[in-house]
């Protein structure tokens, strides 16, 4: 445990160097209209909300870059052999890797807040930052679990969210058992379509659903690391 904690700064550095730069470029490019003033800002506009919505709009892409192949790359490229011949626990190692990815994701978002303050005007997305946390936890955990199983984890993760949304329209959960089952099985992305943490009052059932779904996906990912030997060919 102590050994792994000592290794955490290096894990973080790897993710910042190999993924952070790409994430920053993507975030800047997707926010360019706002940063360059192409999106007119009304005098009475809630600038914080505008910034928050822009950042939330870039989140899915950034989460994909932060977490794709987070386990799978070590397995496919064979890095796991030297790593896990050392006296460390792979489950804790990948938990740390996920935390490092989260820190990188939020660091990029903070840089974007700073950039917005310099180029446009100082603003804080407020409660919308909690939405970003929820997005990372949910989408990141789904990709994390998929990362041990498939190669194109980010694409399949994205597909699961889109499918979940479509299936809820085809089989509304209120109308059939099948609809209820699909709603439980697919990621609850629809709960993030509207603010999960609105100023008017939080629906804690929704928060628990998102958190619970993410926790289960994360636990599945860790269980796969624990119980499926890493040398098993995919």
């Amino acid at each position: 445990m102590t050994t792994l904690l000592a290794y955490f700064p290096r894990q973080l550095r790897d993710i910042v160097l190999t993924r952070g730069a790409a994430m920053l470029v993507i975030a800047v490019m997707l926010s360019l209209p706002l940063l360059l003033g192409a999106v007119p800002i009304a005098e009475d506009a809630d600038v914080g909300a505008l910034l928050g919505n822009t950042l939330q709009g870039t989140s899915a892409f950034l989460i994909m870059v932060a977490t794709y192949s987070i386990i799978g790359e070590d397995v496919r490229r064979g890095y796991f052999r030297f790593l896990f011949s050392k006296p460390i626990n792979p489950v804790l190692y990948y938990t740390q890797a996920f935390i490092a990815a989260a820190i990188t994701f939020f660091a990029v978002q903070f840089i974007m807040v700073g950039l917005f303050a310099v180029v446009v005007q100082p603003a804080w997305p407020g409660l919308l930052f909690l939405e970003m946390i929820a997005s990372f936890v949910l989408f990141g955990s789904v990709i994390f679990a998929l990362s041990r199983v498939v190669r194109l984890d980010w694409l399949i993760g994205l597909f699961l969210f889109i499918m979940g949304s479509g299936i809820r329209n085809w089989y509304p959960p209120a109308e059939s058992i099948r609809g209820k089952i699909f709603t439980v099985l697919f990621p609850p992305g629809h709960l993030l379509d509207n603010p999960l943490f609105p100023a008017t009052g939080v629906d804690w059932w929704h928060v628990a659903w998102v958190g619970g779904y993410a926790a289960i996906c994360f636990a599945i990912g860790l269980s796969l690391v624990r119980f499926v030997p890493l040398g098993t060919q995919k």
Binding site: T3, L4, A6, Y7, R10, D14, L17, T18, R77, G78, Y79, F80, R81, F82, L83, F84, S85, K86, P87, I88, N89, P90, P229, L230, G231, T232, Q233
Partner: protein
Amino acid sequence: MIEFTSVSKEYKSLIPPRTTEALKDLTLTIERGEVFGIAGPNGAGKTTMIGLALGFLRPNRGTVRIDGDTPRHHVERHGVAYLSELVAIPTWWTVTGALKRYSVLAGVKERDRTRVVGEAIERLGLEEHKSKRVKQLSKGNLQRLGLTQALLSDSDLVVLDEPTHGLDPLWTQRFRDIVVGLRRDDRIIIIASHNLDELERLADNVAILDKGALSRQVSTHRAPSGEIQHYRLVLQGEHDALQAAFPGAERVENARQVMYDVRGGLADLNAGLARFLAEGGQVQAFFPARSRLEAAFMEALGEE
């Protein structure tokens, strides 16, 4: 002690549907203090056997235990000095950076880290490459880096898969010296290699695998004196006393020297040699035509 008990391992693929049996009913024991070799042709199951010993793979049938513990549990508690057949290290890491990282994971204390890494770099002759990125290393230097990271900790289990692959003759010899230096009563050293000469020099016992099965286990220590040996005799020139000294000696065809194959027990061969020299024969060289291991290997594979 490492125990493989009736271990079988299969690889399955869905497209096309196929099952490959990599190991079949393997039972063997490797004792502490032993240097244990694993030999076999390509696809014989050497790397699978190592993967099972490290817990990177799980057997379909049978059990693998290290000191009574499951391999993964043992490795996570104690670590293993492991060099894999393919040295896979992130290519953007520098040599020193990679070794520092692995030393952290190996549990080397922070106050000792710089010294331990420095000594390891010196020991494996990587000083001039220490600032290079992994992607800039040649095959041989990458192999040395792999070996260096394996030897960062004082593990009681050393597993080396094709350790001299890509090494030049100088470093192959140095590697052998390193392995000799690693020998310890409480340590197991496992070496998988195609190179029978290397295993003969380093290992106490060698398991010969063929198509996933343990074909035979050979001790590389001295042969029993009565065992028939196959030697090769190189002469200065033809001599009439040869057939009397070594009945049944066969001339090696197409040899550039005057060379004969002779067979017999060690005592008979010595007596024959003494007689031939006494009769005025001139011998340039007298050496085993095949090592015991090589002979066992060929026999195990059904080759002459």
